[in-house]
């Protein structure tokens, strides 16, 4: 058995060498998935002190704990930013890791102000929500939007891997996949959330409410002369203020604009713009309601239809 294991090790080592692009051993500067996961947890603790801790934090200790957490967060974040820059930044003089870090941290109070509006939107938008505390303790969208709003700050910096790793951490935990590039206005709320996808170039207005399973996606990709997809470009919809989109609707296209105050029904597939104050649904008469007991029964089949 040992000799077979040796052979297998040889085979897999050969595969590491032969099959390019799969390993990380000669790229010492890639950010670490585990370190980024850990940083996301620390960020949530920092943004909502007491809620993500084992035990509550006393008011008198808050200043000391906050400074201590900021110091620990900074140290580890700077390390990952340095790795991110080494992969992506052509000119590391322009983008020093500590400079990127400071720009990021200095935006956190503003991020926190936005999150306050999101919590209020959840409370106003969900009859089942009984308090702000319940929303912070048990609404998955809040974790997703907190991490995305932080990642969006980093999105403008020269470290594209880091914000993507952050939003994927939230995606794993919540089923909500918001690209760091998406621009999202204040008082945003996603109820339930599982299966929501918001693409990189989406622009979302104020007081927008989405249900689970809603997609703001790309419709078509521009290709270059060699047939390769052109990266970048405006590919995802724009959603106006005070729009509500019901579960599992799919809206595609960079030219698609959903006008202010519109309501999109559930399970709609939409690839065109709609004016303000629209209501979009399928015709009800398309639904067939048949009586199963009047159909010829087949003994050995549990028919679906």
């Amino acid at each position: 058995m040992q000799s077979r294991l040796d052979e297998i090790a040889k085979g897999i080592l050969a595969s590491y060498n032969e099959v390019g692009g799969l390993n990380n051993t000669d790229r010492h500067n890639l950010p670490s998935k585990r370190a980024m996961d850990n940083l996301c947890e620390q960020l949530l603790q920092f943004l909502f002190p007491g809620f993500h801790d084992e035990r509550p934090i006393h008011k008198n200790d808050l200043a000391i704990i906050t400074r201590e957490r900021l110091r620990a967060l900074s140290e580890q974040f700077e390390d990952q930013i340095a790795k991110g820059l080494s992969v992506s930044c052509p000119d590391s003089l322009l983008c020093s890791a500590s400079e990127v870090l400071m720009r990021f941290l200095e935006r956190l109070p503003a991020v926190r102000e936005l999150l306050r509006t999101d919590i209020l939107a959840a409370y106003e938008g969900d009859p089942a929500a009984s308090s702000n505390e319940e929303i912070i303790l048990s609404y998955p969208f809040l974790e997703a939007i907190a991490i995305q709003r932080c990642a969006h700050v980093l999105y403008g910096e020269c470290v594209p891997l880091l914000p993507r790793m952050m939003t994927e951490w939230a995606h794993t935990r919540t089923g909500i996949d918001i690209h760091p590039g998406a621009q999202i206005g204040e008082y945003f709320f996603i109820d339930h959330g599982t299966g929501v996808v918001i693409g990189e170039t989406s622009r979302i207005g104020k007081r927008v409410k989405l249900y689970h399973g809603v997609t703001l996606g790309a419709r078509s990709f521009v290709k270059d002369e060699s047939g390769q997809i052109v990266k970048g470009g405006n590919r995802h919809p724009e959603v106006g203020d005070r729009v509500t989109i019901y579960p599992n609707s799919t809206i595609l296209g960079g030219e698609t604009l959903i006008g202010d105050r519109s309501t999109i029904g559930a399970n709609v597939f939409l690839m065109q713009s709609v004016p303000p104050d629209s209501l979009v649904v399928y015709e009800e008469k398309q639904l067939r309601i048949l009586n199963k007991s009047k159909r010829p029964a087949s003994e050995d089949i549990e028919w679906f239809i």
Copy 2:
């Protein structure tokens, strides 16, 4: 850099003070998210001894281990219940934490009996299921319904935060979001499960089978004179006995009743009641099947449509 960090700490501390409702430092009695997550794991170990453990449990040790687990569970649960009561209960004399705990624990054998019917329903309802053991070891719906049936017992008590935190723990792990308030009959089965949402006031009969992505949701919200959504009220559908609902269908409304033995097709958006023995689908002729090769091709675009 240290002075900039000091400034940032000041800014975030100011934000803790200015932006209300975001922190937990002066509310010492909120339940702990981590403690509740841990309790959910312990509950599953307690309900399915041996399945969630590192190693199997010998029959002869079961009584001792069970008593020991019950003791540990009780101690930690009572602590969280006391915190929950301090937030929500106007009269802590009526609701002592130990009394709430006992009422909860005394219902667990009945919960376990219901879960046995759910396992049988999964075995009968899924041709891919090869044994009850496979269902306990690898079907996510079982974790979700086990936690929800426990949370539903607590739902009647004066601790609304706790059951919500429990079902969110299961939601994170399974993608299945069942509100603690939902009333669910025996022999319940959800296949795959990701994206299922079952709202607070849903009533589900016996032998109901759902596929992933099914929503039982609210249609409209009653508002009071000041324009605020009225909390509570019957907002979600009622589903009769032996109903099957295929993937990604969305059923909304507190007045919507799905009659016994009905079948709802996939991707349906339904907001009306249907009588017993109904089959609900969209008309097939609405589907357009076009030949792409006969469309005028555009060289530089990978058209979706």
Copy 3:
């Protein structure tokens, strides 16, 4: 309180005895959920050295680390395979645990070659992907397909519980539920992924691209004389080469064949075969776009429709 706890322990112990099929104490050989979760993490580390580690691995250390990891993986995997065989294999002479393990490990270089094509497919198929490293670090589908391709190797062996536990580990992390039995060609890509379900007998060609929420599911189940569902049989669709399926579409049935190079739109429910080069969508005119402001308003209701 102690006497009530004693009563509760008695009640739950009675329930362990009375309610069959719920506990594991007299089946000492069931595989362990935690051990399998741990093995899945080790597998990903082994397949993508450096990416799932705390710190990068130096090229010079790769051979030693790989052999060491293989040894540790083998030891633990053989233990679980032995348990799996004891549950499912009628003839343990034909299927020795170490033999099953070796057959599995010897296939890993080929699995790794397939995963290389999947990474390339993601890079080519997603304009938001900026590098192969980004895909390995932050695309959930890669974890799901890596684990499924490993589980598929074990699917042919006499240990059905193990591959199911592996794909459920990936399902929990990614929301992507691919049965170990599904046959999936090279250059496979799932974007976003949450809510994807691919059933046991699905057959998927080369260069297929799915979006989140796509289902390849069963349509109807054959029952035997006693009314029990017959296990096994071809129940799920076949998907040809170079097919793209947009979000949240549900395709059902073992007879359903999606011809090569076809495109299926979003939110489609399809239960029939379509020829090569098809484009499948609902008629656009079925969509109603109404002006909400022209509807009679009801003061106290926030209408959905």
